[in-house]
C-alpha cells in the first residue's frame, strides 16, 4: 500500500485538479465521466466516498429530502427527482459518489480471480468462506504476488 497513491487519486478525484502523474489524471477523468474505473484502479473507502455526499449535498438533502433516509436509495432518488433544484456541486458530486462506491464494489469483486493463483499456492487447504483465504493472503503479504496484493489494497481489505 502506497499512501501517496491514495492521496493522488483523492486529490485528483475530489479536488477537481490534477497535479499528479498522468495516469491518475486519466483515472480522475474517467470517474468524472461517470465510468466506474472497474477493478483496475485505486479506490477509496465507503466512508470517504459517502462523506462527499454529505458535504456537497447535505444542504440540499435537508431542503428537499426531509423524509428520505440513506438506505434503499431514498436519498439517491430524491436528489435525482430534484436535480433541477439542487446545487450544481451536488449534481456533480452525487454522480461521483455513486461511481466511487461502484468502483470499490468492483475492486472487491475482482479479488478472488486476481488472487486465484496465490490462494492456491499459499493458502492451500484453507476452508473457503468466512474470509479464511483472504486472511491467509493478508498474512502472506510478503510472498504474495504484486497483482494480488494490489487487488487486496484496492478492495480495502488490508
Amino acid at each position: 500500500m502506497q499512501p501517496e497513491k491514495v492521496r493522488s487519486v483523492f486529490d485528483t478525484v475530489y479536488g477537481g485538479y490534477c497535479v499528479m502523474v498522468r495516469i491518475f489524471c486519466l483515472l480522475s477523468a474517467l470517474v468524472w465521466a461517470g465510468f466506474a474505473p472497474a477493478a483496475n484502479a485505486q479506490t477509496v473507502g465507503f466512508a470517504e466516498a459517502i462523506k462527499i455526499l454529505s458535504s456537497s449535498c447535505g444542504k440540499d438533502i435537508e431542503t428537499y429530502c426531509k423524509s428520505a433516509n440513506l438506505g434503499n436509495n431514498e436519498i439517491g432518488s430524491c436528489l435525482e427527482n430534484n436535480k433541477s433544484k439542487v446545487s450544481d456541486q451536488c449534481n456533480v458530486d452525487r454522480a461521483r459518489v455513486s461511481a466511487l462506491l461502484e468502483a470499490r464494489f468492483a475492486a472487491q469483486a475482482a479479488v478472488p480471480k486476481v488472487c486465484e493463483r496465490d490462494s492456491r499456492q499459499y493458502c492451500k487447504g484453507m476452508k473457503p468462506g468466512s474470509g479464511h483465504i483472504l486472511k491467509c493472503l493478508l498474512k502472506a503479504e510478503k510472498v504474495v504476488g504484486k497483482d494480488c496484493n494490489q487487488a487486496i489494497d484496492w478492495a480495502g481489505y488490508r
Binding site: F46, I50, L53, A68, N69, L70, G71, L101, L134
Partner: protein, 192 residues
C-alpha cells in the same frame, strides 16, 4: 484515543445544528474491527428473543423508568461490541447527513475479511426521556434505518445484520438516565 471514542459513542436523538454535528470525533475503521473481532462465546438467543424480552420487561416492571436490568444484559455485555454515535432527526429514524460518514466507516469495517462470516446485532438505544414503549419502537426503527443503509447503500450481506431496538431498557449510565451517553447504536458480534 480508544477510550475517548468509546466514551463519546452516544446517539444524539434530537436534531443538532449542522455545525455542531460536524465536530464529531473521528471514527477509525480499524478501531471498530479490533473491538468487534475475536473469540466469541456461543450466543444462544436470537434477535427476536431480545426484542421480545425488552417488550416484556416494560410490562413486567412498568413505570416511568426501568428499575431492573434486562435478563439478557449480562450475556450481551460479554460479547465483542462497539458503540457509535449516529445522529437522527428529532423523534424520527432519519439518519442525518452528518452521520453518513459514520455509517460508511462501519461499512468499511464490516467489509474487511477480519469480520467476514460474523453476524452482528445493530442495537439502538435511547435515553430515559419519554414513554418507554415509544422509545422501544423508535429505537427499533433507528436500528433498522442503520441496518438498511449498511445492507443497501454499502452492500453488507443482509444475513449478517439484525436490527434490535432496546429503547431505554438498557441504559449505559443508569445514574444519569436522561444523559446523552445513553443514546447510542451498538454493534454486537453474535458469532457465526
Amino acid at each position: 484515543m480508544k477510550i475517548s471514542n468509546i466514551l463519546l459513542g452516544a446517539v444524539v436523538a434530537s436534531a443538532l445544528s449542522v455545525t455542531g454535528a460536524f465536530a464529531q470525533t473521528k471514527l477509525s475503521r480499524n478501531e471498530i474491527v479490533n473491538s468487534l473481532q475475536g473469540a466469541q462465546e456461543k450466543v444462544e438467543f436470537s434477535a427476536d428473543d431480545l426484542r421480545k424480552q425488552a417488550f416484556e420487561h416494560i410490562k413486567r416492571f412498568p413505570g416511568d423508568n426501568a428499575t431492573e436490568v434486562l435478563p439478557l444484559a449480562a450475556k450481551l455485555n460479554q460479547l465483542r461490541q462497539f458503540n457509535v454515535e449516529v445522529t437522527f432527526d428529532f423523534d424520527s429514524a432519519r439518519i442525518r447527513p452528518e452521520s453518513y460518514e459514520t455509517i460508511g466507516v462501519i461499512a468499511d469495517a464490516l467489509h474487511t475479511p477480519y469480520l467476514w462470516g460474523a453476524k452482528f446485532f445493530v442495537v439502538g438505544h435511547t435515553d430515559a426521556k419519554g414513554d418507554r414503549e415509544y422509545n422501544l419502537n423508535l429505537s427499533q426503527k433507528r436500528a433498522e434505518a442503520v441496518r438498511d443503509a449498511l445492507v443497501t447503500t454499502f452492500r453488507v450481506p443482509a444475513d449478517r445484520l439484525e436490527a434490535v431496538g432496546l429503547g431505554e431498557e438498557q441504559l449505559r449510565d443508569p445514574a444519569d438516565p436522561d444523559g446523552a451517553i445513553n443514546r447510542r447504536v451498538q454493534l454486537i458480534n453474535v458469532g457465526y
